[in-house]
């Protein structure tokens, strides 16, 4: 199952390795985010040092894939050829309250014309593209 039509650029881990654990975990249906070993706070997107305490002791930790819709948008106008026949789709910005309030971007699964409310609880859905070259997994969201 794929929420958006195929043909958009496929995500690959950054060449510098900064977000590799995130992508590897997603392929195993696990959400892992960057956490500071010194001050224990999460940060996202991943950084080379902790922006709070400047420690280099950063690792990735499995987290519960639960969040709330912080904001959203329904896109109508396609800006990529792969989306020409897509019709409307919903992008959500999801805040993870258990993870220092970091936010992730994804699509809200279901009817693209459904009503969306800020604050709605959502859970992650791991959308696998095993046959893609290279294969990848998108962390999508659905209402709880």
């Amino acid at each position: 199952m794929s929420y958006l039509n195929p043909g958009l650029p496929k995500p690959v881990p950054a060449p510098d390795g900064l977000d590799t654990p995130f992508w590897e975990a997603a392929s195993r249906n696990v959400l892992m985010l960057q956490r500071c070993g010194a001050c224990q706070e999460f940060q996202w997107g991943p950084e080379w040092i902790c922006h709070r305490c400047h420690s280099e002791d950063l690792g990735f930790e499995e987290v519960r894939p639960l969040g709330n819709i912080y904001s959203y948008e329904r896109v109508w106008h396609p800006v990529h050829p792969a989306l020409k026949e897509q019709g409307p789709y919903i992008i959500v910005l999801v805040e993870l309250p258990e993870c220092s309030g970091v936010r992730l971007v994804g699509n809200l699964l279901g009817d693209p014309e459904q009503s969306v409310e800020i604050g709605t609880p959502v859970r992650a859905f791991f959308e696998h593209h095993r046959d893609a070259e290279p294969p990848f997994t998108l962390v999508q969201w659905e209402k709880v």
């Binding site: 995500p11 940060q43 997107g45 800006v79 699509n107």
Partner: protein, 392 residues
Amino acid sequence: MSRTVRGKVAVVGIGETQYYKRGEAPDAEFKLALKAILAACEDAGISPKQVDGFASFSNDRSDPSHLAAALGVDDLRFSNMQWGGGGGGGSGAIANAAAAVATGMAECVVVFRALAQGQFGRFGQGPQRDVIAGDGAHTVPFGLMSPAQSFAMKVTRFMHDHGVEQNALRAISLASYHHAQNNPRAVMHGRPLDEEKYDNSRWIVEPFHLFDCCLENDGAAAMVLVAAERARDFPHKPAYILSALSGSHYRAGASVHNTPDYATSTFKTVVPRLYDMAQVTPADVDVLQCYENFTGGVLMSMVEHQFCDPDGCNEFFVKDNLVAPSGKLPTNTSGGNLAECYMHGLGLNIEAVRQIRGQSTNQVDDADVALVASGPMVTPVSSSIFGTEATL
């Protein structure tokens, strides 16, 4: 206060090419830059050889050394690029140029921006490649890839937090199109907009209709800055820089939409410094040019420049309040990025100078203080305030 540019520098020349729909300029981008600079120099009554500095923003491709060579500049002293923020750098480039003039690093600096999207590609399209890494890997595969898509989520959150209705965005668009009908330079001159046409226009991305989005254009714009003590020697009434600066709040640049203060135009930390340097208050501002990448950004910018309470937007943002000459705060009086031309906002600064000179096609009576907000929602953003001699 000595550590200020207030009153030390003036704009004495402005110049623009004709403005074209994107991809329709008959000239190469570099030639457009030269033509705008030549026009600004002619307006200032100077030889282009006297220019000794260049400042631009958003990674403008017309390199100052190349420009200096093409113009036969005798003595290049200042070559400057405002780093980051795209169109948010428009007033920042003016700030940098003004700083150079105020401190004696240069005598006559041109601020310019040139765009030929037919030659170099569009802003409003997503990346078309096989794979994507880095920050984009966490947004693009979800169909989040254009400026409209990047900013709509900020605006949605702001509208949610403050109960802002769609009609408030519509009023901003109506005002710009209204002004463009009096401005023969405007790309949308002769193409008026009313409520019905706006309401029936297609969604780009909610909450932006087609008419909430800026144009994409080809052209170039330039202005000439000199020290204030020389400013009276030029043909036109000087527009003195009362304030110009840039910046952004704590972790505004956090990736993947993670800035802590999310639903903002990014002006909150800039504005107190802006008014403090200019020694004016929002009530002193006679006319406003407020960068419209999207109307929602204009709304948040105007709130954060303290023209409107965040919870009073539905009452303040009505067309009558925004149009010249009678509105409470005439805004985007050239038609701006929505309806005059998208010259990455430098056209807004030029319109502010026209208002100070008394030369706008939508002139505000006795305009002594003109504010420009360049941005919004990017990082860094920047703002500038111009004044007549009476404000010094």
